[in-house]
């Protein structure tokens, strides 16, 4: 049965900072108390554009606008307006009639489709002022966790929320915390909490942005986690290549320490906890948890077998709880607003079993061949199509969509047929990719999928620690095969060989870098086998990328002899007199593309190599 009345509460960050969520909560409570919950619905909406007057509450279909609504006002509104039908005069608001010359943020898909949880404070606070963070209810969750909740209750809340690791593994965070605490208690050893800020995936910058925009959200999350687990020591392992993030985090820690939020007797309670920043040194493999812990201990950053879990025996053989930056940043909100609110977003059902769904939101770095590149946060389960075409704005320059790469070097490429898939942990894994840490690279028809596979394998070959044979030699032999294929000397057996190498690596590698290394290759073979076959059997790169398989040709229809390309060519490969059609000498052309850049008439084309050789 449809609701007779909808109460729209603005959930724009401006109104939220005025406690619009508290208002919404109070409205819901009152509506339930008055027995109106079948007739009246409370909806949290995007920014209505009246930020200066917020919190804004709109009652439809009455068309009544209320401004500056406080929680106590909400009680009044519920009783007077919603029950008795009498609008509350003193809160009424007349929105200005004139339309603004520019669109509202809520009408721009890039922003409209996002739901900020982790990034709630982005753009709104100065990350180097702790008072700004406190102004937006910062550290209130910590107060609640310290004074109103026991460690077991905190564990329970996190478990109930179904929060799963945002670093790529998707392991239920509550269970991880609980196992760590149990191990620490049973062995009577102090546990350690670690934040993995090593973010090595090329093209991923979620963690960097979170720390740069809102470092205290991570710090608060870690303190709450430390209370739940019983830890006195915490580390943030941040990669060397993030100097600004590291500076801001250091400032945040210093300010928190000055306020007594870190160190001894936090908020005057018995809790002691402090965090140390440890810097990485440029090794992708140190994002793997056991390698990270080895590096923390000052040893060489190499992984070890995980048959013995790090939650039981980790840093210096102590129970160690390692979580990603984004995971930690979710914790304060879950404590403040409750597990139920968190599970109201996302896909699947985590009420019985956290593996049954993906609750909450995920931050993605949307990059590549898409109009709007940037950092986005969306509820889990949003269709991939919406991300690419609505938020991303579609493929620029009129080109067509080809694939989306998710999960970095551990993930895979998904084709057009996967566009309607919901983006969450399990759907992506089923389709042959994985969520990973949140890197999302959009590719158009000018991307060669074989070259993409080759790129990732080359990256991993550089970054492999080299300890175990299947990873070290498997990546090398995969790279040899992919180089062969992209250079036009691929053999028909190579596809089967790459598959076999991938399968053996999945079986036998020591750590997740190795076991997931085959994903880019296997997923591109699965969905884009025709491209591989074109390279091998026909010596053609359909996307026109692999330099060995293309040649540059001047379109005689378009060329007007302006000679611009000749000036750009460093090998004197272009022949032609001014005002006459020019011609490229294939022998001399090194396919650098300088002429294409120089030509104003789009007269130079990349065409498949002709088989003169």
């Amino acid at each position: 049965m449809p609701y007779r009345t909808n109460v729209l509460v603005c959930a724009g960050t401006g109104c939220v900072s005025g406690n619009s969520f508290g208002v919404a909560q109070t409205l819901e409570n009152e509506i339930r108390k008055l027995g109106l919950d079948q007739e009246v619905q409370v909806i949290r909406t995007g920014c209505q554009g009246f930020c200066a007057e917020g919190p804004i509450v709109i009652v439809q279909p009455d068309g009544i606008f209320y401004c500056g609504v406080q929680q106590k006002d909400a009680v009044y509104i519920a009783q007077e307006h919603l029950l008795k039908g009498r609008p509350v005069r003193k809160l009424l608001y007349s929105p200005p009639a004139e339309k603004k010359p520019i669109p509202a943020l809520k009408d721009i898909p890039f922003f409209a489709k996002q739901r900020l949880v982790v990034l709630r404070n982005r753009g709104a606070i100065d990350p180097e002022r702790i008072d700004d963070y406190i102004a937006v209810d910062g550290y209130a969750a910590l107060v609640k966790a310290l004074t109103e909740m026991t460690p077991e209750q905190i564990l329970g809340e996190i478990k109930k929320s179904g929060l799963r690791g945002r670093g790529g593994g998707g392991f239920p965070t509550g269970i991880k915390w609980e196992t760590c605490r149990k191990a620490a208690v049973s062995r009577a050893v102090d546990p350690v909490v670690v934040c993995n800020a090593d973010e090595g995936d090329p093209g991923a910058f979620m963690d960097r942005s979170i720390i740069e925009s809102d470092p205290h959200s991570v710090v608060e999350g870690m303190i709450i986690g430390a209370r739940a687990i019983g830890a006195k020591e915490g580390f943030v392992y941040i990669r060397h290549e993030y100097p600004i993030a590291r500076e801001r985090l250091k400032k945040a820690l210093d300010q928190a320490r000055e306020y007594g939020l870190l160190g001894e007797n936090i908020f005057g309670t018995m809790m002691n906890f402090d965090i140390e920043i440890v810097q990485g040194a440029g090794a992708f493999v140190c994002g793997e948890s056991t390698a990270l812990m080895a590096s923390l201990e000052g040893k060489v950053g190499e992984p070890r077998a995980k048959y013995i879990h790090t939650v039981e025996y980790g840093y210096k053989n102590r129970p160690t709880n390692l979580n990603n930056v984004e995971t930690w940043a979710n914790v304060p909100l879950i404590i403040n607003r409750g597990a139920e609110w968190f599970t109201s977003m996302g896909s699947g059902d985590v009420s019985e079993n956290p593996w049954g769904g993906s609750s909450g939101t995920k931050v993605f770095s949307l990059v590549g061949k898409v109009k709007n590149t940037g950092l986005i946060e969306v509820p889990m389960g949003i269709p991939l199509r919406e991300i690419v075409f609505d938020i991303g704005g579609g493929i620029p320059e009129g080109r067509s969509f080809k694939a989306v790469q998710t999960g970095g070097p551990s993930g895979g490429c998904l084709p057009e047929s996967a566009l309607d898939m919901p983006v969450d942990f399990d759907s992506l894994t089923e389709a042959g990719s994985m969520m990973g840490s949140g890197g999302m690279i959009v590719m158009d028809d000018q991307t060669c999928m074989v070259d993409v596979a080759r790129y990732f394998i080359a990256f991993l070959t550089e970054e492999s620690c080299g300890k175990c044979v299947p990873c070290r030699e498997g990546l090398r032999s995969s790279l040899d095969a992919l180089n062969r294929i992209t250079q036009g000397t691929g053999k028909p057996d190579d596809i089967g060989l790459l598959r076999e190498i991938g399968e053996v690596m999945q079986d036998c590698c020591l750590c997740a870098l190795g076991t997931s290394a085959a994903n880019p290759v296997l997923s591109t073979i699965q969905y884009f086998k025709d491209e591989y076959e074109a390279h091998i059997n026909k010596g053609v790169c359909p996307a026109g990328v692999c330099t060995a398989l293309i040649e540059y040709q001047i379109d005689p229809e378009k060329c007007d002899g302006c000679h611009a390309c000749v000036h750009g060519c460093s090998t004197n490969a272009i022949i032609g007199n001014v005002k006459q059609v020019h011609f490229i000498d294939k022998e001399k052309c090194i396919k650098c593309g300088a002429c294409v850049e120089a030509c104003k008439r789009n007269g130079i084309l990349k065409v498949p190599r002709s088989h003169a050789a």
Binding site: A283, V285, V300, R304, A305, Y307, I308, T461, E462, E463, S464, C465, G466, K467, C468, V469, P470, R472, E473, G474, L475, R476, S477, D480, L497, E500, I501, V504, D507, C508, C509, L510
Partner: protein
């Protein structure tokens, strides 16, 4: 310790919870190939060749058998199709790097690889890490490590330089499965071995040792250097090794003591003119003796410090002996052993040999004849005391040689003779603590050698009854003479024991119990340690057997409690009166 049940290749078996699958399989006689595994090291799990298939619940996992902890109810397949496929490719990968390493080729043949798809590389090291791990975890030297990342990974030492941490134990070469680690003959090694050091920390001291059991040398044992290792304890099946043993002192009550404490080799470091310790190829007699021994560091070969046999050797007699500055006596044995060396050098290397002597002392049976034999073997004898050994060349024949400068007294000329190696026939010295020992036992010690009771008639007994001496501790002598003295001392001691009773001197002293005040002045005065102090009665007591009646104690006793029998004051005064009878009247 919980016991769990599991299945391997369909066989049901039991094991302790969390035991690695490899250990369980070994007990059942199921062979799983390994490359980076070794029983004395923690599992490393990098070669991945021991991968097996494990069903846990409904899930199938591929895990490494060497370090995967078995849990209850798992089913393991060690040789399924999938396992074989995985192992085959891993071996092909090994071959792409180390295509000609025997242990890899053997395994590859077992898995039917004839044409490895990734080629055959020429590396020797399979990067198994056994050497690194044994050096860090067992030996504790930390001289080896892995360097670089990915395909450029190598095993090396810090900065690729010879590591000062390496203690040359050879453990890395021992565990290496491909044999690509070699122990190089370091010239320092030969030098260190020569001064009577053992070759390995665990060794049987010498061929004729009784009991014929090995001992651990504290100086070279790795455990006492780094605190780790103890491999010997781990592998000893009868648990006969105990590193915590220390020296302990046992006390015996005996009636006779034979001192056969031997000698000390003269150290020519105090004679800088011979360059011992400065030049690597100048050796003492005992060092050269050790080198010649078939059980020695070179297996009996005569080698120079840099390797290779010498073409010419100088043997210098009377080093430290017959020398005003060091020892005036002749050490008796050096001439003969110097001749023996000359003969051995000729026999083993055919090098030119020079003996620089003052007199040739060949006093024993066949000794003179041996000397003449050497003259026939064309050993060069130069009569003259070698003055110096130096490496400073004055002409091209002396470059790279040790030059011995000597006055050849038979031709009256100073000669410079360049040689490759110099052997100093060092003399014999008493042990450093001989004087202390003598004092403890109340025997005399002349020039360091223990004094016999009579140089001609009592060579093996001392002034103290019951203490005998034999061998070089009494004076330099060679083996036949030492053996003869040893028999003599033994038989004299035996005589004491067999007699059952001893004849003692009648003129001994005794202490009057009632007068003795227990001042103990007499205790220290007795040079034969014949007086002891009775703690209970608080008086001194004289041992009749030891006392020789010298009367010193009687004279010293302030209470006149000691009487020398047959020399009482009464008797002495009577004697004097008797002698002076005629004078008196």
């Amino acid at each position: 310790m919980k016991t769990i049940k599991l299945k391997i290749n369909g066989i049901e078996t039991e094991a302790e919870d969390r035991t690695p699958i490899l250990a369980i399989a070994e007990k059942l006689g199921i062979r799983i190939p390994t490359l980076c595994h070794h029983p004395i090291l923690e599992p490393y799990g990098v070669c991945r060749i021991c991968t097996v298939e494990v069903r846990v619940g409904r899930r199938i996992r591929m895990v490494t058998a060497c370090n995967y902890p078995a849990t209850n109810g798992i089913e393991v397949l060690t040789d399924s199709e999938r396992v074989r496929r995985d192992r085959r490719m891993i071996l092909e990968w090994f071959m792409s790097r180390c295509g000609h390493v025997p242990v890899i080729e053997k395994l590859a043949a077992e898995y039917g690889i004839t044409e490895p798809r990734f080629g055959r590389g020429d590396e020797e090291c399979i990067l198994c890490g056994l050497c690194v791990r044994v050096c860090s975890d067992v030996v504790g030297a930390h001289a080896l490590g892995f360097f670089n990342r990915g395909t450029t990974r190598v095993v090396s030492t810090a900065y690729d330089e010879t590591s000062p941490k390496c203690i040359s134990c050879g453990a890395c070469a021992y565990v290496c499965p491909t044999g690509c680690i070699k122990i190089e003959d370091d010239e320092m090694l030969i030098r260190k071995e020569l001064p009577l050091g053992p070759l390995t920390p665990v060794h049987i001291p010498f061929m004729q040792a009784i009991p014929h059991k090995p001992v651990i040398d504290r100086e070279s044992c790795i455990h006492f250097k780094t605190g780790d290792c103890k491999i010997c304890e781990k592998v000893c099946e009868v648990k006969a090794i105990d590193h915590t043993q220390t020296d302990h002192v046992d006390e015996f009550d005996v009636g006779a003591v034979i001192l056969a404490t031997g000698f000390k080799d003269f150290d020519p470091s105090c004679m800088p003119e011979y360059g011992y310790g400065k030049y690597k190829n100048v050796l003492t007699g005992i060092e050269f003796e050790r080198m010649n021994s078939a059980s020695g560091p070179t297996g009996g070969r005569i080698l120079m410090a840099g390797g290779g046999e010498p073409k010419s050797v100088a043997i210098v007699h009377c080093v430290g002996s017959r020398d005003e500055r060091h020892h005036k006596y002749c050490s008796r044995v050096c001439c003969m052993y110097a001749l023996k060396f000359a003969h051995l050098i000729k026999e083993k290397t055919g090098a030119e040999v020079y003996n620089f002597y003052i007199d040739m002392r060949c006093f024993g049976k066949g000794y003179e004849e041996f000397y003449h034999r050497l003259l026939e073997e064309e050993v060069r004898f130069v009569r003259g005391r070698a003055a110096s050994v130096s490496d400073f060349p004055l002409n091209h024949t002396e470059v790279g040689k040790l030059v011995v400068r000597v006055e050849d007294t038979l031709i009256g000329q100073v000669r410079r003779i360049p040689v490759d190696m110099v052997v100093l026939a060092t003399g014999l010295e008493p042990q450093a603590d001989a004087k202390d020992l003598a004092r403890t036992l109340h025997i005399s010690c002349g020039d360091g050698f223990f004094a016999e009771r009579h140089p001609k008639l009592a060579p093996v007994s001392t002034a103290t009854e019951g203490i005998f001496i034999a061998g070089v501790c009494q004076g330099p002598k060679d083996i036949p003479d030492t053996v003869a003295q040893a028999s003599a001392a033994a038989s004299q001691a035996q005589t004491l024991i067999c007699m059952g009773e001893i004849e003692i001197e009648a003129a001994t002293a005794f202490v009057n119990d009632e007068i003795c005040s227990g001042c103990r002045i007499c205790n220290t005065l007795c040079s034969l340690s014949a007086i002891r102090y009775d703690e209970e009665k608080k008086i001194s007591v004289i041992n009749d057997v030891l006392c020789k009646g010298c009367g010193t104690c009687a004279a010293a006793c302030p209470s006149a409690a000691i009487t020398a029998r047959h020399f009482t004051d009464q008797q002495i005064f009577s004697e004097i009166e008797g002698v002076l009878y005629d004078v008196r009247t």
